[in-house]
Amino acid sequence: MTSAERVTAAISHQEPDRVPLFMTTTMHGARELDLPLKDYFTSSKNVIEGQVRLKEHYGGDFYYAVLYAAIEAEAFGQDVRWCDNGPATAGAPGIRNIEEIRSLEAPDPRTTPCLQRVLEVIAGLAERAAGETPVVGLVVSPFSLPIMQLGFERYLRLTYEHRDLFWQLMAINEAFCVAWAEAQIAAGASAIAYYDPASSPTVTAPAVFRETGLLIAKRTLSRIPAATAIHLASGRCLPILDELISTGTNMVSASAEEDLAETKARCAGRVTVVGDLNGLAMRRWTAEDAEAAVKSAIAAAGRGGGFILADNHGEIPWQVPDSVLEAVRDAVDRWGRYPLSWVDDEGD
């Protein structure tokens, strides 16, 4: 099976030849090319080459057209802070006074240089993929983006104290998010990760989520013409799982802080579970730890398809050694082949 066939079978809730692996390496591409992170991420050519090499090296089942989440804040005019051993992050909030929301204008993805760079990456990867490997793009949800736009504290206050301005900001962000997803799909993305940790019960109370993040996700996702994954960036999902499924999304991320078997049982036949290796813990894994973690995730969630093995955050930290990623790759190859008869045997 090609990676594309493998992933398609899994998200159709069938068992492919083996458990698909989304090796969510972004920064490791710079390591493959021996480049500083800033040089790597500011050139689409580098990222394309990096992703191709990462797939060869670690055998994952997708090309990950993700540079850094703060690129959307950058598109709105905010500073980005480069780091030589970690992801680029958003600098000081772009919206300094909430009144600015009234005149805020969203950038056009097709003419904003940093976003054009992502579109070039997607187009380049789609060409290399030739239909055999899914290319996954990313949008930060309209509901999560303001944490960067305003800073977290002011955003919390906005949601509590200025609902009118909150909804005004959501309208701007929703239009941007849809346009940004459409541009990525037009460039060749096969699926879009909808990065929405603000909706996770780790951040927002389920009752508040139901009248905010949920409505926004439903509206936004229904306008994105491709497969989507709601990604809570390692935040918890169980208390709002039914609502997440009701958005019509195809995939949901699982948190290492929750029980994977329970998440899978509740998703089976409805949405595909993506997860749930703990990337931060991976730093100190041995090859044996990696194998044990992969085995236990597959045992918990692999049967019947509807499962893609990945880390639980959507990005493996720079500090995770190559040897651990190789051990993950090998363990999926060893324990991920369908039918998973060893799971039944061990369960008996």
Binding site: T89, P93, E153, Y160, A256, L280, P317, W318
Partner: protein, 210 residues
């Protein structure tokens, strides 16, 4: 009024419902019978710890943690100046964010400490060198650091190595919560999984010192 009779559950419900007026009435009633600082230690601090534990279990949302901290901070600001004991200023506690543009973790810890009656030296978002200078100049006993990203968490080691030996360091933030061994690796003395853990950490430091 015995500690057992303090209206913990009512106060917690008022805070979780972000009902500042109800929370204020409860605290005032307790202050009518107790020294303000006793009321703060017996009512406000334990309820914030319960709310923090609820967040840790996934039952309470961050926004509720934030709003309850804020409400308590304001209420305590109103009642404490009337107290002859004023604020707790021993040990001297400093609070800072390393590197990241992420002030919320620190904000939450600040609210909890102030609401529990502590004096706090807020250093804001700092580089390690600047923090170390201030800690020495202001004779700080306990440094509390909040981070969001892993590279910032790893930089805690620089701070620990440069501080005078007697200064204790407590850390918190997502990378520490999600990798429980990390705080020891960077040489910190304690790690908080939720903002209100700052209080139990200070208690444990005090016990160690005694």
């Amino acid at each position: 009024m015995g500690i057992a009779a303090l209206p913990l559950a009512d106060f917690e419900a008022a805070l979780l419902g972000t009902d500042r007026v109800a929370a204020g009435r409860i605290l005032e009633a307790v202050c009518a019978l107790e020294q303000p600082l006793v009321a703060v230690e017996g009512l406000v601090a334990p309820v914030l710890e319960r709310i923090g534990a609820g967040w840790e279990r996934g039952e309470v949302a961050l926004a509720q943690v934030y709003m309850s901290g804020l409400i308590c901070e304001e209420l305590v600001e109103e009642v404490l100046p009337a107290s002859k004991h004023r604020r707790i200023n021993s040990p001297r506690v400093a609070l800072a964010v390393l590197d990241d543009y992420h002030m919320l973790g620190k904000r939450l810890v600040h609210s909890v400490l102030r609401a529990a009656g502590y004096e706090v030296l807020d250093c804001g978002r700092v580089e390690p060198e600047e923090l170390i200078e201030r800690v020495i100049a202001e004779q700080v006993d306990v440094v509390m650091l909040s981070v969001l990203m892993l590279p910032a968490a790893l930089r805690v080691r620089e701070v620990v190595l440069a501080l005078p030996q007697h200064v204790r360091v407590a850390v918190g933030g997502a990378p520490f919560r999600l990798d429980p061994e990390l705080y020891r690796e960077v040489g910190a003395d304690a790690m908080g999984r939720t903002a209100s853990d700052a209080l139990s950490i200070l208690r444990s430091f005090a016990e160690l010192a005694a």
